[in-house]
Symmetry: C2
């Protein structure tokens, strides 16, 4: 089994190093190979997703990704900016299913800005479609406005779109995920306004026939954003498109107050995947040794489970993370009075020891 390691920018290298340490003590013979991505890719090879990096990612059985983005790349032309690497990897590897758990560990209930009774025990899984929608739809650009009161002016435009097969395959992923959990799926759309999402709703409803054991409901995206704030624990699995998923999954992550704890997986049709923490590259704290490596370590656990067929090892890693939390170890982002403040490396070492 070959794993591509793409540390990226900012805190990426530090947190990835801890996850690599964890992988190395599992006693498995994984082959790990690193390559630069994001700003680091641009600095080394003039492109955020250098050819060699993409080739490595394609050849590997799974990709472990840190984070990308740093101040010095902010003013590059868009095609060279670090985040283009993420979009490029998703598209080129066909990673259409983004799984983002929003879990609030009981020990960290205080970290949330929401009242404990509203969020303690929170365990939502958001499934975001990742290679369609307005992210990649053509045509797009700036053109002359063809009609209406602004005719003749410049206008920016993009195309939202979802083909039937694209909706079907993400719906299958979502129903199957719900079957392994509380068997409730909320499909989030804007069918009252958008043709794309009326179509989405119709197809999801059709796929539901194959999963009679799952309870399906449909919710408008504006209402979903409200319900996430009002009563997030009512959700089990949510499925939605690329754009709405971008917004809702970040809102859901922030409900926990501990985004430094949340992993994510982006899977293709064969469960090959890219795994990355839900948080960003945090350039303001890069190199200080204080970043939380747990989201990356938990991303490695997801990788063991979904792409490397090592469910038992995944369980071991997740149990080890729970153990260090129970021991009271905390990085700065989740530190509270009465707990022990540790740095990135010490947290990684503690997980290794707990294994």
């Amino acid at each position: 089994m070959k794993i591509a390691i793409l540390p990226g920018d900012g805190i990426g290298p530090e947190i990835i190093a801890q996850a690599v340490k964890v992988l190395n003590v599992l006693g498995e013979s994984f082959e790990l190979e690193s390559a630069p991505v994001g700003g680091a890719g641009y600095a080394a090879h003039g492109h955020p997703l250098p050819e060699g990096t993409l080739a490595l990612a394609k050849a590997a059985d799974a990709v472990l990704f840190g984070a990308v983005g740093d101040y010095q790349y902010d003013n590059l032309e868009r095609q060279f900016r670090p985040e283009q690497a993420i979009l490029g990897l998703r598209k080129n590897l066909g990673l259409f299913a983004n799984l983002r758990p929003a879990i609030l560990y009981p020990e960290l209930a205080g970290a949330s800005t929401l009242k404990p009774e509203v969020v303690s025990g929170l365990d939502i899984l958001i499934i975001r479609e990742l290679t369609g929608d307005i992210y990649f739809g053509q045509p797009r650009g700036v053109r002359e406005c063809p009609d209406g009161p602004f005719k003749g002016q410049r206008e920016g435009f993009d195309t939202m779109r979802y083909a039937e097969g694209e909706i079907r395959r993400i719906a299958h992923v979502a129903f199957q995920a719900a079957q392994k959990r509380d068997k409730r799926l909320t499909s989030v759309d804007k069918a009252n306004v958008l043709e794309t999402f009326q179509f989405w709703k119709d197809i999801v409803t059709d796929v539901h026939k194959e999963y009679p054991d799952v309870a399906l409901d449909h919710m408008y995206v504006d209402n979903a954003a409200m319900q996430l704030v009002r009563a997030p624990k009512k959700f089990d699995v949510m499925v939605t498109g690329n754009m709405f998923g971008d917004i809702l999954s970040d809102a859901a992550a922030m409900l926990t107050g501990s985004i430094g704890m949340l992993p994510s997986a982006s899977l293709d049709a064969n469960n090959k995947g890219l795994y990355e923490p839900s948080h960003g590259s945090a350039p303001d704290i890069a190199g200080k040794g204080i970043a939380n490596p747990l989201a990356t370590i938990l991303s490695a656990a997801m990788m063991l489970r979904y792409s490397l067929n090592r469910a038992e090892q995944a369980d071991r890693v997740e149990t080890a993370v729970k153990k260090v939390l129970a021991q009271g170890l905390r990085t700065a982002d989740i530190h509270e009075a009465g707990t022990t403040l540790v740095g990135t490396e010490a947290m990684g070492d503690a997980v290794v020891k707990a294994l």
Copy 2:
């Protein structure tokens, strides 16, 4: 001055009745005329926005709107569904600027699902563009997928678009609103992915040159959704497009926990406007006399201020609402131990008395 009164469905008629009571005691000689809209419009004239209703709204100086939607209209074809009336009014009246304050009254801090220290004193103004974006962009529909791996399948599609003049005029509204407040404006976009919103960002940046006294920052929509949960009090005025504004303004409203308190205004280029509560038609509690009329009464206050040039009367109404809250009167949605539970009519009467 002529005011079109459009009660609509569900709790609409009950809450509008209280706002009308309030308008009637101000000692102004407004001419009020009612017409059916939404499901009531469909029931009376076969269309959610009957011709007579639209004509009345066009002829009036301002529109006071209740809410639309009820169970029996849920399965109508989309063009006949109640919410089409809202979209039709916005488009036909050119109501491009939607102002949605998210204010947490100190007395109601407990109603929020967020911790009091995170939200008490919250006072954000979200300005949402309302007649452009993917809501109205053409072409849209279901077609045969023209290319890519899903070629030949059916696909749903929509067009996102903003013309330069459309962005300029909403940016002016936003900068001017910020000038009257804390002089900070956050423009929310997704310039890292969407051409429409890279264009949006460029134009807003350009308009900023005319408002050097306002501090402008740009934020991605996913980050904005997170920051609303993490530290909402950091925002002063936010401006964004129709689709992102739909999601963010509802999330922001729900932060207060008291959406029954939040008014909204939708203005055209001459400050003619439509005023409605931020909440919906709540058909489950319609006719029970328990709905909160304060959002509608506060919407009437916004109408006095923005469209009818009666700022003093607007102040009077807002002060009266604060007074009844201070008296401890609460409808069921905001009721807590130690306060006095009252119904819709009693709440309206209390505001009248406080005037």
